[in-house]
Symmetry: C2
Subunit: 284 residues, 2 copies
């Protein structure tokens, strides 16, 4: 890494949406902690792919021998903010065998008939896995708040239920990383226009994106409320400036790397007699 620009300061601190955090103060064009530009950032992403994959393999290996550690990355964002790019380019560097990805869509009628966490619980990562939620239970306090689908008391109940749920996941070995990709309203417009101008991207465009865009400020208020209510020690929120896709990717990669480094992973010790097995294989 001699020639690749690295972070001055780990972004987990600077990006955390803790006490006193104001979403409105974040510049979506900024690159907190990173002094380099786009080409540096791309090189760094590629350089650290292997490290991320190696940590993921150790996490997976530990679980084969009874380890209970696991990781859950929760991605939330306005449309076009780049969740898909994070999945393809950051998560995609890990072995698919160790990744448990779930994209939550609008709930089905069956899902709606249960508590909002019912469908979420079924998708939490197994031991040794890196779980990734592309949208999540937070939709139930974001779009539901914006459109008034849930009254204030119900939203309060949900924030509490989310904190209890996430604390339970953490207690069973899950390192939770919550990320909001933060693009500006102007950047979203530019990206929607870019989709419309490229026929190979028309399939990604939906006029419902435009409908939600009209509620931009309400969404920002709903995100701020979610940070205020559900940023906890075991499940912290990180707001990642995302107007620069390359920055958002290296920032999320850093958050994942740190989450896994914090787990102090080790290769499991052999539970068999290595010399004996070696001689058996030799003779086989």
């Amino acid at each position: 890494m001699a020639n690749i620009e690295t972070f001055d300061e780990h972004p987990s601190g600077t990006l955390a949406a803790g006490d006193g955090f104001k979403l409105a103060d974040v510049d979506p064009d900024s690159t907190p902690g990173y002094p380099g530009g786009k080409s540096d950032g791309r090189a760094l992403l590629e350089e650290l792919d292997g490290k991320l994959a190696a940590l993921q393999e150790q996490l997976f290996a530990e679980a084969k021998f009874g380890g209970t550690k696991r990781v859950l990355l929760i991605l939330q964002a306005m449309d076009t903010a780049g969740k898909g790019g994070i999945v393809a380019h950051v998560v995609g560097a890990m072995d698919p065998q160790g990744v448990q990805l779930k994209a939550f869509k609008a709930p089905t009628d069956e899902e709606k008939s249960y508590d909002f966490l019912w469908r979420i619980e079924k998708e939490v990562p197994a031991a040794g896995m890196v779980g990734v939620f592309d949208r999540s239970h937070y939709e139930d306090v974001l779009i539901h708040r914006v459109h008034g689908w849930a009254p204030p008391e119900e939203l309060e109940r949900r924030y509490t239920a989310i904190n209890e749920f996430e604390a339970r996941l953490a207690a069973s070995g899950t390192r939770i990383v919550k990320v909001m990709l933060n693009i500006s309203r102007d950047e979203q417009k530019a990206r929607l226009l870019a989709r419309l101008d490229d026929p190979s991207k028309h399939w990604k465009y939906s006029s419902s994106d435009l409908k939600e865009r009209a509620f931009w400020d309400d969404y920002m208020a709903a995100y701020q409320a979610a940070f205020d209510k559900t940023h906890t020690e075991v499940a912290p929120w990180h707001v990642v400036p995302a107007n620069k896709k390359w920055y958002a990717r290296i920032a999320v990669q850093q958050l994942l790397l740190q989450a896994m480094e914090d787990l102090n992973l080790k290769w499991p010790a052999a539970e068999f007699d290595v010399a004996l097995e070696r001689s058996l294989v030799e003779r086989s």
Copy 2:
């Protein structure tokens, strides 16, 4: 690709386990159709990653607009043959959002209480997805045959049931690619020893591997029977020489590429008025 060695002849033909195919005649060290060496092969794999990912995105996009096409890659092999490497290095190049991977382990008691295809049916790829089975329903005619867990009449019933099942998948839009990674007995020994000599690989070693190794010839006979009984036009088998990992990876990549090219994928046409949406976004 000017400087990268490509295949002389597409491997889908040379590797097919059709009429008159004899597994015993295949040299696991060979590289059918490919004149290059390891460094050429690695360069080719990387070069074609993007093409594979682009086709997968088209497949995914089509399904968003009602397309029913999908792909199912079935991987079978003796232990250490490199199924995991195919998943990590070939399948891993595609967007995780479009890949539906299932590793079938020994069946649970619940799974055993149903017909052998019950647990398989639940994991078939959704429209637009690339499904990957790491082991599959073929275990029920491989290990079951080797150890006599199913009598001959039952094995015959299963071959027939498999052909009917796969024909049904094909009829509903699934392009099926069945691959047996073919390593030699000596190569397996070398790989097992390598695992034992590297503490970071001990977690991959199991003394049960050695137990199955003792039945090598019976396994080869069971594979031959599976090819004879279940190589069909809609679900052909391919036997990929796998002593050279780099060759196995480019060969499977070629098979996947061809499967997707055969689907004649196109970007879905916009179902909205592009100019109108453009003006709405501009004003938003």
